[in-house]
């Protein structure tokens, strides 16, 4: 039950994109087509879970005991960066098609604040997560990211076909859609 609450909270109530403003760059960048956004979600989910697992261990078993929590940011980003590069290299070899589709955005996962943000949030005292909860939290957030980016890709495909007025085409319309989506998601407030 605990885990379900964490997931519902992360997906709907405190949606990583719509309520926490994390991962906006890929949200706007890789959401032009539904299949691409699905691929991106997959990559994010994988990296996010793995990164949270690793950083949680580093934080609780290296940084806290040594009293050097202030190194959190720098050590996390190192871990995330190398993880992403690893995923990139592996993907290039294993699934060139997916690699092609995600294109330049794979390296951008490094600078995807969603990953770093979630790894930092996962060790926040407020939540007091244990390892398993932290991983579930990461999966929940990745699901939230996937949900919003895929919905959003659908809407953008729709907008592509209908000729949005010139001034609003592209990012502005996308942001307004995100705004309305955020409005709608406020309905989930206090669900858990």
């Amino acid at each position: 039950m605990e885990y379900i609450i964490i997931i519902i909270g992360a997906v709907f109530v405190n949606n990583i994109v719509l309520a926490q403003f994390l991962g906006i760059c890929p949200y706007l960048g890789v959401s032009a087509k539904v299949p691409t956004s699905v691929g991106m979600s997959g990559a994010v989910m994988f990296v996010m879970t793995l990164a949270t697992l690793v950083t949680f261990l580093i934080f609780n078993y290296i940084l806290v005991p040594l009293n050097i929590e202030y190194l959190q940011t720098i050590s996390y980003i190192l871990v995330v960066a190398s993880l992403v590069q690893m995923v990139e290299i592996i993907l290039k070899k294993v699934s060139p098609a997916l690699y092609q589709a995600l294109g330049i955005f794979l390296p951008l996962i490094v600078t995807n604040c969603a990953i770093l943000g979630v790894t930092i949030l996962a060790v926040r005292e407020d939540y007091g997560f244990n390892l398993l909860e932290a991983v579930v939290f990461a999966i929940g957030n990745a699901l939230g990211f996937a949900l919003t980016i895929i919905i959003f890709a659908g809407i953008r495909e729709h907008l592509d076909l209908v000729d949005v007025p010139k001034g609003m085409r592209g990012a502005p319309a996308a942001l307004v859609v995100a705004g309305i989506l955020a409005l709608a998601f406020m309905g989930f407030a206090n669900l858990v």
Binding site: E157, P172, L181, L191
Partner: protein, 332 residues
């Protein structure tokens, strides 16, 4: 013989037009409008009028100065948005806020994307939710209904059945104790209860819905699946614990469920295209509405759930295509 016209086939065209459909919807809204005028009086008339006029005005201004497209204010769609927006706010809402709502509904909800048919979200609901979040105090002070009311903004305010029940249950009171304090079902059906301008009378809305069904403006798929899901899900909760969860009949008649299911969810531009898609959409709306009503912070979830399902529409359209000719054989 004059110059011949050459065009692609077909050379016959059905007697449909966008404005005929739209004015059909406006016509079907009249019963609900009359009920609201009866119970909320002058205030309701003022709110409705303001909303309609400002929706048309904003559409006119944006078309004229920003988009510079063909003039569309008389196709009736802005009127519908205006009426539905008015139907979704309390009758004693300050008119300035109504104007803001109209600006958001038309400007942000509709014209941002290029106007009628291009908007991914229902404009009236965008306006309503925007107001709901922006002006929570004004948007949740509902006037008490009273027959042939002529009062303006100084009306006695009171809770809607939904807020009353939710507030009570939240403090651990029992549904059976709370029920006698709200209008009975006959009154709720007629619209003699607190609520937004046009949502109060389930009967009037159903009447309008039947008219639209008869004229084939809408199909039964969305309203039936929406209301059905809401009824079934709330019935399940009700059977589990009738002291915490009110019965399905209450859910159907309270709040904006009827209005939402018949008028908002069936909006062409923001609902799925195929019949299966429509049913999925209705089920989604129903589930979300009940979940938000029972477990969320807001007592009413209709607007939120329809907006959220609006966002899913492109995906539903992708995933649920109409049944194609010649497909059956392959499977069989």
């Amino acid at each position: 013989m004059k110059v011949l016209t050459v065009s692609g086939s077909p050379h016959f065209h059905a007697d449909h037009s966008v404005s005929r459909i739209m004015y059909g919807v406006v016509f079907s809204l009249i019963p609900a409008m009359l009920v609201s005028f009866y119970f909320f009086g002058l205030a309701a008339i003022l709110v409705t009028l303001t909303a309609v006029v400002s929706c048309m005005a904003f559409e006119f201004l944006i078309q004229k100065y920003l988009i510079r497209g063909p003039m569309t204010i008389f196709d009736g769609s802005a009127i519908i948005t205006g009426v539905l927006l008015a139907f979704n706010v309390p009758a004693n809402l300050p008119l300035g806020i109504v104007v803001i709502g109209a600006a958001v509904a038309i400007g942000m909800g509709k014209m941002t994307f290029g106007g009628l048919g291009k908007n991914p979200f229902n404009p009236a609901l965008v306006g309503r939710v925007f107001l709901m979040i922006s002006f929570p105090v004004q948007m949740t002070t509902y006037p008490e209904p009273s027959a042939f009311s002529t009062r303006l903004a100084d009306a006695v305010t009171g809770p809607t059945p939904l807020t009353f029940l939710k507030g009570g249950v939240d403090q651990g009171e029992k549904v059976s104790e709370l029920m006698p304090q709200i209008p009975d079902y006959a009154n709720m059906m007629l619209g003699n209860m607190g609520g937004s301008v046009g949502e109060v009378s389930a009967l009037a809305i159903i009447l309008g819905g039947l008219y639209m069904l008869a004229r084939r403006i809408i199909s039964w798929h969305i309203p039936v699946s929406y209301l059905g899901t809401a009824a079934i899900l709330s019935a399940i909760f009700w059977m589990v614990n009738p002291e915490v969860y009110p019965d399905p009949l209450f859910h159907l008649m309270a709040g904006g469920l009827m209005l939402g299911a018949i008028y908002m969810a069936t909006d062409y531009a923001t609902s799925p295209m195929s019949k299966t898609g429509m049913i999925i959409f209705g089920i989604g709306c129903g589930l979300l509405t009940v979940i938000i009503r029972l477990f969320g912070a807001y007592p009413e979830g209709v607007a939120f759930s329809i907006l959220i399902m609006n966002a899913f529409v492109p995906l539903i359209n992708r995933g649920f295509k109409p049944k194609r000719f010649g497909e059956e054989i392959k499977n069989g």
